[in-house]
């Protein structure tokens, strides 16, 4: 739904300040008397703590306090579940072991805090960490995902009987029926690697306790300020009104910043009260790799049943998901994997089952994509494997099985991360595929280019895959809109921003409704002092869920303005219009009142107020979708492989995506580009590697390969498709994760296609040249 501003590529309100460095990120905050924290972290992945000697550390000049778990006493408890268990799924079982803010008796992953130092500077705090001596009794580390799930494996949590943290089985139709009716069943095992969110700004927190006012202010680049406020208040026995969380400018989120009740916020809020001094902790990159959360690793056993003509009858997936040492985020990621495995294809029989497993690794919580890329990876790889067995073209097998544009809403029968059955609300998957195939020049590549280049000795290949992006899940978000006496508008919402352009796209929605300029709408996100209800920025839901709440609140303000103006202008509401910041009588434009004047009049200072009236040109609205809006699309890629060194160059990438109405197409494209980069990282470069003792061996950017400019495809072409979602008035769907979802699957297919002479088949992501080499050697029987 286009408006004067919605659907326009408007330059961002936030840019002039950001581009000149005139903004406040977390580590820019300086407060009088502020102290600095550093954590002493476990060197072992799994060990009993025999003794911690902090006496030397406490003596160091400049050190204010050193605390171990014992010093915190009863305050140390496992944190709350951040996400509830999926009780809506019949038979789902789980064992909750939530995050401990500081290790008590035992460490469960390398990097887990065992002590915290508060000092006059971060330099001194780190010096003190070096003077803390911990005696450990090392235990066998639980590292391998599948072995961890076996009976008799060493236990991450002594009292759980096994490392199984959860189990879910879902089925629609009957897999056995599918096998019975099929001509062919293909089986494969897949491995998905772990990757980091790796936002450019690390996590961090500044806590200030005002001992006189009994109020706490927390600055934290969090994706969920309200959960942080509420959990902090509950833990410390304070009212929510005594705690204000401000999410300052934040240098990217990508998932890991969603977590609350982490060691830093739990321990430093306590210590700020205890020490009556503000405390800052800005995570360093090593800590970010070791002890913030990350995501991805799964092992899948897949089967696909087909007819000879390529019609898919059934899909079966049995997989393991690595939860890490604790499971505060429950099953969001594997549920996302389940809902994104067959969502865009017409597959009558689908059985999906997973085990959530504890290991001695850092906690797994969503990272951009959050389970979706792996569901996509396994279904797309299985279609490739099936196509190969059937001698079918890879685009053709997809064409054959994609849902048609007439099949919506499509009920998937699979319950997702929002605990309701996944419903594909709208879309046009075949058009997305056809458009993509056309943009990349698939037929010409197959028929002319590839054979010609192959004859010249070049190994070029093409990959094409489809995806869906479940976005905009509930429960709800809200917004408050106030028109000021200056005629400008303030909108505040509970979600926070990490660079998505909310200060502009939200303003565009308001500007259309209230007939003001986008620059005259001030957007406040992530400050509980302004708005205190909501869930947070995750699951590509900001624009759709908070954006719709903003739209609804703006409509309320619009109606309120007209109602008040009707009295003042003595004209019926039906004859009034809101144009260019004034309410006027449509037929008598000279008869008007500005929004600013209306706002002043809406707060009468004398006289009587009408019963039932509410002051101010102000309104609050909430929006909660019945289920998420599903975005979708297709991607294609052309790669060239040096068959001797296995270096891969992505020559061309084409992608069609559908996020319903794009509020700001420029911002949407930027989101997709960023997602693609993360997808390229996932496909080719990024990998968190643990050794057999549970040590993370990629705890720096020297070893963890972050995609650079030269690693991106030389040419990226985006195509847009708009099937507005019927679930919300603007027809919105999210788009933040789209680019990251299909990329690993497309990359694997393209490289495989380039090297098809060898018969190689890839069954994992992060296809480094060495890994490609090993796969090819294996295919050649080496």
């Amino acid at each position: 739904m286009a408006g004067k501003f919605v659907h326009q590529s408007i330059k961002r309100n936030e840019d002039p300040d950001l581009i000149t460095g005139k903004v406040q990120f977390l580590d820019d905050i300086e407060l009088p008397g502020m102290l600095h924290a550093a954590f002493k972290r476990a060197d072992y992945a799994h060990a009993r703590i025999l003794n911690i000697d902090v006496s030397e550390a406490r003596k160091l000049p400049g050190v204010i306090a050193v605390y171990t778990a014992a010093d915190f006493g009863d305050y140390i408890k496992p944190g709350p579940l951040q996400v509830p268990p999926p009780t809506a799924i019949k038979g789902a079982t789980y064992t909750a072991r939530t995050t401990l803010p500081i290790a008590v008796d035992k460490v469960r992953f390398s990097g887990e805090p065992v002590a915290v130092v508060i000092a006059e500077s971060r330099y001194i705090a780190e010096d003190a960490c070096d003077l803390i001596f911990v005696d450990y009794d090392p235990l066998d580390a639980v590292v391998d995902l599948e072995k961890a799930a076996q009976p008799g494996a060493p236990l991450v949590h002594d009292d759980t009987g096994s490392n199984l943290a959860g189990h879910v089985f879902q089925e629609r139709g009957s897999w056995e029926q599918a096998v019975k009716e099929s001509d062919l069943v293909v089986k494969r095992r897949f491995f998905i690697n772990r990757v980091a969110g790796a936002a450019m700004e690390n996590r961090g927190i500044v806590v200030k306790w005002d001992a006189l006012a009994k109020e706490m202010t927390i600055w934290c680049g969090t994706q969920s300020p309200i959960a942080l406020r509420n959990q902090t208040a509950a833990r410390l026995g304070l009212f929510e009104s005594q705690v204000r969380v401000i999410s300052p400018n934040t240098g990217g989120g990508f998932g890991p910043k969603i977590n609350t009740s982490m060691p830093d916020d739990v321990l430093l809020t306590y210590l700020a009260i205890k020490l009556e001094r503000p405390i800052k902790w800005y995570e360093d990159r090593r800590e970010n790799f070791l002890a913030t959360t990350s995501e991805r690793d799964q092992v899948h056993y897949c089967e696909i049943a087909l007819k000879k003509d390529g019609t898919v009858l059934g899909f079966k997936d049995y997989f393991f998901h690595n939860s890490g040492a604790y499971n505060p985020y429950m099953m969001t990621i594997p549920l996302n994997t389940q809902t994104h495995t067959v969502s865009n294809y017409r597959i009558p029989h689908f059985q999906t089952e997973f085990n959530l497993v504890f290991t001695n690794q850092m906690i797994a919580t969503p990272v951009r994509g959050a389970g979706r890329p792996f569901g996509t990876f396994v279904i797309e790889r299985m279609l490739d494997a099936a196509a190969k067995e059937l001698g079918m073209d890879k685009v053709e097998i997809r064409r054959k099985n994609l849902l048609k544009s007439t099949e919506y809403p499509a009920y998937t029968g699979i319950i997702g991360q929002d605990f309701v059955e996944g419903v594909l609300d709208s879309g046009d998957y075949p058009t997305a595929l056809e458009k993509t195939v056309e943009m990349i020049g698939y037929d010409q590549f197959r028929k002319e280019i590839q054979p010609r280049l192959r004859a010249e000795g070049k190994y070029v290949g093409i990959g094409v895959a489809c995806f869906t992006e479940g976005t905009a899940v509930g429960p709800y978000e809200g917004a408050k809109i106030t028109v000021g006496g200056n005629g400008k508008v303030v909108v505040s919402t509970g979600i926070s921003s990490q660079g998505q352009g909310h200060y502009t796209s939200f303003a565009q929605i308001v500007a259309d409704q209230l007939a003001v300029d986008v620059k005259d709408v001030k957007v406040i996100t992530g400050d509980t002092g302004f708005f205190g209800w909501g869930a947070g920025t995750f699951a590509s839901r900001g624009i759709t869920v908070a954006g719709t709440a903003i739209y609804l609140a703006a409509q309320k303000v619009h109606d309120k303005a007209l109602k008040l103006a009707s009295k003042i202008l003595e004209a019926p509401v039906e004859e009034l219009e809101l144009v260019d910041g004034v309410v006027r009588v449509a037929d008598v434009p000279a008869k008007f009142i500005s929004l600013g004047d209306l706002a002043m009049r809406a707060n009468p200072q004398r006289g009587v107020m009408e019963p039932g009236a509410e002051p101010g040109l102000e309104a609050i609205a909430y929006y909660g979708p019945p289920y998420g809006a599903t975005g979708a699309g297709a991607m294609a890629m052309i790669v060239e492989v040096d068959a001797q060194t296995m270096k891969v160059k992505v020559d061309q990438l084409a992608m069609v995506h559908d996020c319903g109405t794009p509020v700001n197409p420029m911002i949407v494209e930027g989101q997709v580009h960023g997602g693609i980069q993360m997808g390229i990282g996932d496909a080719f470069y990024e990998e968190l590697v643990y050794d057999e003792t549970g040590q993370l061996v990629t705890a720096s950017f020297m070893d963890y390969l972050f995609p650079q400019a030269s690693d991106m495809p030389a040419k990226i072409e985006l195509g847009h498709l708009e099937t507005p979602s019927p679930l919300n008035p603007l027809g919105l769907k999210g788009v933040g994760e789209a680019g990251a979802i299909p990329t690993p699957a497309v990359f694997a297919q393209a490289v495989e296609d380039a090297l098809k002479d060898s018969g190689v088949e890839f069954t994992q992501d992060t296809l480094s040249p060495s890994r490609i080499f090993t796969f090819v050697q294996k295919a050649k029987g080496g």
């Binding site: 780190e126 470069y685 650079q708 480094s768 080499f773 050697q777």
Partner: protein, 290 residues
């Protein structure tokens, strides 16, 4: 990630620096460009008790052509200066080509030619370049100096013949022989990243187009830069045909190197890279020598 405390010395002359190093002994560590040292200090993997900072010693920054055609490079000469220096480009065109593969501009703007040699990172370009170009290294200490051939300089990863009180002061590169050609080949995961395997080749042809000399230096596949003996054995005296080149490459990959497996590549893969890269480098170097 903040470095541990250290004492700081900021000499303004070589003599003063040598006196500092003499006095400090094992406690002293030279700070040249610091582009490897300071990250290691930030991780607290390196904790020198004292740093002797050479950045204020003007007499260590130079590129001086010598009359016999060789080139003397002061130890503190920044990589980016070496990369763009017109005399370097003219006399040793291979140098800028290799140096531009060192990390990124920001690092080359601070990193130093001598510092990289003294640091002896087995994955670094400049130590290998020094060996390939038969560099002679002037090592000074208080009251004395010695010349060391680059081939004899490196003992192991981050280990050289330098004693704690010694300073690598100057690198002298002898002139390239007539009818010689050079090539550099590397494979790294990303531009500016560490090489998974790399080779510098410098070959010389005689009047009858037979190989007179073949210096093949591999790095990132062993503990120090590896000067191939097999290359000379196979190539010297023969006409550099594709078959001979392939034979040399295979010999080197199979016998002379034994790259281990690491995070980014298996030993087998990196051995294959050596084979491919040596073949490509020799082919190109011979082409350029003609």
């Amino acid at each position: 990630m903040k470095p541990a405390p250290f004492d700081y010395y900021a000499p303004t002359s070589i003599e003063e620096a040598l006196a500092n190093l003499h006095e400090l002994g094992y406690d002293g560590k030279v700070l040249a460009g610091g582009q490897s040292l300071i990250p290691a200090m930030n991780f607290r993997m390196a904790r020198p008790a004292a740093l002797v900072d050479l950045n204020r010693i003007k007499e260590l920054f130079y590129i001086k052509p010598v009359d016999d055609g060789s080139l003397a490079i002061g130890t503190m000469t920044r990589d980016s200066l070496v990369e763009h220096d017109p005399i370097v480009v003219q006399r040793f065109p291979i140098i800028p080509f290799v140096v531009k593969h060192i990390a990124h501009t920001q690092i080359r703007n601070r990193g130093t030619f001598g510092g990289a040699i003294a640091h002896a990172d087995p994955a670094a370009q400049i130590p290998a370049l020094a060996v390939a170009l038969k560099a002679r290294l002037l090592v000074r200490k208080q009251g004395g100096q010695r010349w060391v051939n680059s081939e004899d300089f490196f003992l192991g990863p981050f280990m050289t013949v330098l004693e704690p009180e010694e300073l690598l002061a100057e690198v002298v590169l002898p002139p390239m022989a007539k009818r010689s050609g050079a090539s550099y080949q590397q494979v790294s995961r990303q531009k500016g990243g560490y090489a998974q395997a790399a080779v510098i080749t410098i070959v010389t042809l005689d009047e009858s187009n037979r190989c007179k000399e073949a210096r093949v230096v591999l790095f990132s596949v062993g503990e120090t830069p590896i000067l191939s003996k097999a290359a000379s054995q196979v190539l010297v005296g023969s006409a550099p045909s594709p078959a001979v080149i392939a034979q040399a490459a295979e010999q080197i990959a199979r016998v002379e190197v034994d790259p281990g497996s690491d995070l980014h590549g298996s030993g087998e893969y990196r051995r294959q890279l050596v084979n491919v890269l040596v073949e490509r480098a020799l082919t190109e170097a011979f082409e350029r020598a003609k």
